[in-house]
Amino acid sequence: MAKSKTSVIDKVFNRDEMDDIVNVFPNRVGSQGFDAWGFNIKNMKTNMRFTKFLYDSFYKVEAFGLENIPKEGRCLIIPNHSGQLPFDGMLIGYALITNQFGPRAPKAMVERFLPTVPFIGNWLSSVGAVIGDPINCERMLDNEEAVVVFPEGVRGSNKLYKLKYQLQRFGTGFMHLAMKHNAPIIPVAVIGMEETIRSYADLKPIAKALGLPVAPLVVPWVFPSKVYLYFGKPIYYKNDVYKESDIKERVDEVKAAINKLIKIGLEKRATDLAEIKVEKK
């Protein structure tokens, strides 16, 4: 038991190679290691050690299609959202940072209430999270950043377990920004997070009393689950439609691209599980 504990601590805190990764990826920080959104290179190094443990050892992530992420310049990374907590964003971020085809330090748009939570707000911004304000997103695209946007918001991350792998309503803001700023959209499917924390009800009165967007009734356990990340090919849209109905059509095209990747991911997972069962026999 003691051996196992030492092993985890060692994995989280004693991996100096993470410093080397953080030191080389492109970033635009000032003299004290901060950028204009609160990203902090020092905190990023600490966080990366923890995320590496989650990525490699806990979720045993396999990422596909990393070559589709532009090596430089603006882009919008659009994944499905799941797992109650923002671990899916962290895993996508880690995949981008350690991408062998060209590392990127992405920014992730998060819920607006998070900065009001002590420690959490600061910690999130120090590792690249930014409140989901279109002005922030515009500024970051202008700054040639890779920006992760979850268009489902809490509708996706906090949906009930029975709705797993069913995309919820997408906001259209990301499409307006992609068109206006000529930013390619990278559709992403996250497979495996849905099963980690399972919600069976949304306790709306409690959410209202606490001033939170949701209060999920969850099994208080993080179920181990292998995670697959599928990055699709960039989709480009010209800034040539103006009606919301046309924008909605384009959003549905992105949803369809994500659904296609989800299908591929679920099939891959089923094949892997079948192989494991055969090996065990």
Binding site: Q32, F34, G38, T116, V117, P118, F119, N122, S126
Partner: protein, 310 residues
């Protein structure tokens, strides 16, 4: 030889005004005024103690034909009561603008503050000059700062002949500066809010002096943020400046406010609690581009100064 142009500098007792006067006095004839005291700035600078809202203020204009006004005189929210501040900062400034019109002063520079944007968890980063000013939504103690801005904007557009330039600087820091956040950097023990370290910008007083002098001389009317594109978390700044952090409970907010009211700490006023929690990062690029301005002093220069005080 042509006589030197005359400039009126208000708030002459302040550290920033003294620096501005010192820089401009060789090229201009400076008339310095302050409502608090008659400041001795040495010979060639004429100095008066005068209240903008008294009739005698006009005598300064009758006696001197000004070629410009640098309006740095403002009672900060730490000083006096709300009513007196409003009268001095808003009504007094209106009087100043009216006199500038009456006596045909061709340019006026007004000093504002980034506080006018208000500290809110919903603030995007890099607020530009068109961002609505929400400070008065958060606290009545900053109403005069927002109103001063609104008044300046009205005069800027209604009376273009005044050529008004409004500067909204981030936290000014360095020798002699006595604003809230510079006080915090200079103290041995400074209050911080538990779990919050908002991103901040600091500009050295010497750079701010240069920004004022450049904006005044180039005279391109408008409203401008003045801030470097370098940032630091507030608690990190306190640590690097060599101060010990005193963690004040941040939840529930009513407890924090109660503590601030009870302590009556000059450097931890209740009306600024939100600024200890949420970042107000301003975009200084318009000013930098328009006036070719780049701060010379770094954050490290600022913190080195504060460390030397400990």
């Amino acid at each position: 030889m042509e006589p030197k142009k005359k400039i009126l500098v208000t708030g002459a007792a302040g550290a920033l005004a003294k620096k501005v006067i010192d820089k401009l006095k060789k090229d201009y004839k400076i008339i310095a005024i302050d409502f608090r005291t008659k400041v001795d700035l040495g010979i060639p600078v004429e100095s008066y103690k005068v209240d903008f809202n008294k009739r005698i203020f006009e005598d300064v204009f009758r006696e001197h034909q000004f070629d410009g006004i640098i309006h740095l005189g403002r009672i900060s929210a730490q000083e006096l009561n709300r009513f007196t501040r409003y009268n001095a900062n808003v009504i007094g400034t209106r009087k100043l603008f009216d006199l500038a019109r009456k006596y045909n002063v061709p340019k006026t520079l007004v000093m504002s503050t980034y506080f006018v944007y208000g500290a809110s968890p919903y603030n995007p980063s890099l607020l530009d000059e068109t961002t609505p000013l929400k400070a008065s939504e958060l606290t009545m103690d900053l109403v005069d700062s927002v109103e001063l801005e609104n008044l300046s904007s009205i005069y800027l557009y209604k009376h273009p002949e005044l050529h008004i330039t409004v500067l909204r600087p981030c936290n000014i820091a360095g020798p002699g500066v006595r604003n809230t956040f510079s006080l915090l950097l200079s103290e041995k023990r400074s209050p911080v809010l538990w779990g919050f370290s908002p991103l901040m910008q600091f500009i050295h007083i010497d750079d701010m002096r240069d920004a004022i002098c450049t904006a005044f001389e180039k005279n391109i009317p408008g409203v401008y943020n003045v801030a470097p594109d370098d940032y630091i978390g507030f608690q990190d700044a306190i640590k690097i400046a060599g101060s010990q952090r005193i963690q004040i409970p941040s939840v529930p907010p009513s407890l924090t406010e109660g503590i601030a009211r009870f302590l009556k700490w000059k450097s931890f006023p209740p009306y600024l609690i939100n600024y200890f929690k949420y970042p107000v990062i301003i975009d200084g690029s318009l000013f930098a581009k328009t006036f070719g301005f780049k701060p010379k002093k770094t954050l490290e220069d600022i913190f080195t100064y504060y460390r030397s005080l400990k």
